[in-house]
C-alpha cells in the first residue's frame, strides 16, 4: 500500500500564551487526492499546515510527508512540499520573475532549468507579461497567482493551498479552480486546500476534514458528507404577491416576503404535493433555487453542534 501524501498522528500545538490550538489530531491525505481542510477562523487549519511546512513548531505528534518523518529528514519532506500561504509573503520590491527564480534557487534548481519552468508557470497563470514588474504593482489576484507559481517551481508532489482564492473575483477564482484541477488530474499533484468558500471545496475536493477547536470533527469523502444532508431549502419566486401561506402536510413552507416563499424538504420527500397545493391556491411559481450552498449548511450545523457541546465560542 503506498504511503499517504500526508500522515498526521497525535499532532498537538500549544502556543506560548497557553492557547491549545491543536489537540492531538490524526489525518491522512492519500496520494493524488484533492483534499479540503475546513474550519472556522482559529480552528487550527493554518496551525496544522504551518507545522507540516515548518512555519510552526509542533508541541507533540508525528507528521510524515510521503512516508518521510519531518523529525528525521525535514529537508527531504520539504522537497515534496509546495506552499501557498494565506498572507502574501514575498518581497514586495522584487520583480515577479526574480521571486520565482530565487525560490528555484532555494531548492537547488540550476538557472538553466529554472528559467523555462518559471516562464511556463507564469504564462499558465497569466503573469508572464508582468514578469519585470515589482510584486507590489500586482493586483491581489495576481499576487495570489504569483504565490502559486512560486510554490510550483520545484514541482512538488504535495501542494498546500491556504485560502488561495481569498479576495479574488469570481471569474478569476474559477480560472484558478481550473488550473488547480488540471495540476491535480494531469500531473498527479496531491492538493490540500483550506478555504472559506465552501462552494470551492464542494466543487474541487474529493475528501474533506472539518476541524474545530483544534479537533477533527469530520473526516470523510465529500460525497459521503453531502449525503448526510437530510434537509434542503429552496427559495420559490412567485408571480403575484402572497397574501396567505398555504399549508402542506409534512412540508415546511414559510413566507420570506411578498414575492418569495421558503421551502424546506426532507430527503425522500416529494415536491409534487407542494406544487399541487400552490396551483390550487392560485400561486404561480416562476423560479426556484437553493437557498444556500449545501455544504455550507452542513458545515454550519457541524460546527454549531460542536460549539454547543463545548460551551460556545471560545
Amino acid at each position: 500500500m503506498p504511503e499517504p501524501a500526508l500522515s498526521i498522528r497525535g499532532l498537538s500545538k500549544v502556543y506560548g500564551n497557553q492557547f491549545h490550538a491543536l489537540k492531538g489530531i490524526d489525518l491522512d491525505v492519500p496520494e493524488g487526492d484533492f483534499f479540503a481542510l475546513l474550519g472556522p477562523n482559529g480552528a487550527g487549519k493554518s496551525t496544522t499546515l504551518g507545522i507540516v511546512c515548518s512555519l510552526v513548531n509542533k508541541t507533540a505528534g508525528q507528521v510524515k510527508v510521503f512516508g518521510t518523518d519531518i523529525d528525521t529528514n525535514f529537508s527531504l519532506a520539504k522537497y515534496h512540499l509546495g506552499v501557498v500561504p494565506q498572507e502574501f509573503n514575498f518581497n514586495q520590491f522584487e520583480k515577479v520573475y526574480d521571486i520565482v527564480l530565487t525560490q528555484a534557487g532555494y531548492y537547488g534548481i540550476p538557472m538553466k532549468e529554472a528559467r523555462p519552468r518559471a516562464r511556463q508557470l507564469l504564462e499558465d497563470l497569466g503573469l508572464w507579461d508582468k514578469r519585470d514588474d515589482g510584486a507590489r504593482m500586482l493586483s491581489g489576484g495576481m499576487k495570489r497567482r504569483l504565490m502559486i507559481a512560486r510554490a510550483l517551481i520545484h514541482r512538488p508532489r504535495l501542494l498546500i493551498l491556504d485560502e488561495p482564492t481569498a479576495g479574488v473575483d469570481i471569474e478569476l477564482r474559477r480560472s484558478m479552480w481550473e488550473y488547480m484541477r488540471r495540476i491535480n488530474q494531469e500531473e498527479g499533484t496531491t492538493i490540500i486546500l483550506t478555504t472559506h468558500y465552501l462552494e470551492e471545496a464542494e466543487s474541487l475536493c474529493r475528501n474533506i476534514a472539518i476541524i474545530n477547536h483544534g479537533q477533527i470533527v469530520k473526516n470523510t469523502s465529500m460525497r459521503a458528507l453531502l449525503t448526510e444532508l437530510d434537509t434542503e431549502t429552496f427559495i420559490l419566486d412567485v408571480a403575484s404577491p402572497i397574501t396567505t401561506v398555504p399549508r402542506v402536510e409534512g412540508i415546511e413552507l414559510t413566507r420570506v416576503d411578498d414575492a418569495q416563499l421558503m421551502l424546506s424538504v426532507k430527503k425522500g420527500q416529494r415536491l409534487n404535493d407542494v406544487f399541487t397545493v400552490l396551483s390550487r391556491e392560485g400561486i404561480d411559481v416562476v423560479s426556484m433555487r437553493n437557498r444556500a450552498n449545501r455544504l455550507e449548511e452542513l458545515f454550519v450545523s457541524l460546527v454549531h453542534d460542536q460549539q454547543a457541546e463545548t460551551g460556545g465560542i471560545r
Binding site: Y15, Y79, T102, G105, Y106, G108, I109
Partner: protein
C-alpha cells in the same frame, strides 16, 4: 539536498544579498565613503597636523586602519541585520524556511552577503584614504585575514540581532549603543598607551580594540596588543556566535511560532 543543490542554494542567497546592497548603493556604499572622507579631512589633515605622530607614525596614517575597520564592522553588521530583518518583516523569510535548505546554508549565505558589503565599503574607504596618505601594507596576509574574520564575526552578530529583533528599532539599538561606542573607544583615533592605567585595563576588555590593533599592525606594523592573541580571540568569538546563531535558527527564534 546534494552538494550541488546546496551550492546553488548558497549562491542564490549570496547573489540576492549582493544585488540588494548594490541596488541601493546610495544608502549602503556612498554614505560611509563620504563620512570617512570627512574624518580624513578633519581628524587626519586639519587636527592631525597639530597632533603630529602617534606610536611613531603620522597621525593620519595612524587613523587609516581604524577608520577602515570601523567601516567594515558597522557595514557588515548592519547589512545582515537590516536585510534579514526585512525578510522577517515582509515574511519573505518563509520562502527560505519552507525550502529544504539547511539552516547553516541560510546563515552562511547572509554572512557572506554581510562580508561582501563590509569588504566593499572597506575597499572604498581604503581608496579614499589613498588621496590623503600613502600607507604601505606591512603584513598583507594578516591584514586580509583579520579584516575578513572581523567582517564574518560582525555579520554573524547582525544575524543574531535580526533573529532576536521584533521591530526595526531593535536592529538599530546595538549599532548605536554598543558598536559605535566600542569602536570609538577601541583605539581607532588614539593609542591606549595614552590612557591612565585603569582605563587601559578597561580598554582591554573591548573586543574591537583587538581587531583594530591587529589590522593596524598588519598595515603599519605598530600595535598596542599582540596580533596572535587577537586572532585567536576573533576566531573563538566567531565559533561561539556561529553556534549561537545556528541554535537560534534551529529553534525558529523570531521566524517560527
Amino acid at each position: 539536498m546534494s552538494q550541488r543543490q546546496l551550492l546553488i542554494a548558497l549562491w542564490t542567497i549570496v547573489t540576492k544579498e549582493v544585488r540588494r546592497f548594490m541596488r541601493i548603493w546610495p544608502q549602503t556604499l556612498l554614505p560611509p565613503s563620504i563620512t570617512m572622507t570627512m574624518y580624513f579631512i578633519i581628524f587626519g589633515n586639519l587636527i592631525g597636523q597639530r597632533v603630529g605622530e602617534m606610536d611613531g607614525v603620522p597621525y593620519i596614517d595612524y587613523i587609516v586602519p581604524g577608520l577602515i575597520m570601523m567601516s567594515v564592522i558597522t557595514n557588515s553588521y548592519s547589512n545582515v541585520a537590516s536585510s534579514f530583518f526585512s525578510n522577517k518583516f515582509q515574511r519573505s523569510v518563509e520562502e527560505m524556511v519552507v525550502s529544504p535548505m539547511p539552516d547553516w546554508i541560510i546563515l552562511l549565505g547572509f554572512v557572506i552577503g554581510g562580508v561582501a558589503r563590509g569588504l566593499a565599503v572597506g575597499a572604498i574607504v581604503t581608496a579614499v584614504s589613498l588621496f590623503f596618505t600613502d600607507v604601505q601594507v606591512h603584513h598583507p596576509l594578516l591584514t586580509v585575514l583579520v579584516v575578513v574574520l572581523t567582517a564574518v564575526l560582525f555579520s554573524i552578530g547582525g544575524f543574531i540581532n535580526s533573529l532576536l529583533a521584533k521591530k526595526f528599532d531593535d536592529i538599530s539599538i546595538v549599532p548605536i549603543f554598543v558598536l559605535t561606542p566600542l569602536t570609538y573607544l577601541g583605539g581607532v583615533f588614539y593609542s591606549i598607551h595614552m590612557l591612565p592605567d585603569f582605563w587601559q585595563m578597561v580598554s582591554m576588555i573591548n573586543p574591537i580594540l583587538y581587531m583594530v590593533n591587529t589590522f593596524r599592525y598588519g598595515i603599519l606594523g605598530v600595535s598596542d596588543i599582540s596580533a596572535g592573541g587577537a586572532m585567536v580571540a576573533i576566531v573563538a568569538f566567531i565559533v561561539v556566535l556561529y553556534a549561537l546563531a545556528l541554535w537560534l535558527l534551529k529553534r525558529g527564534q523570531g521566524i517560527r511560532s
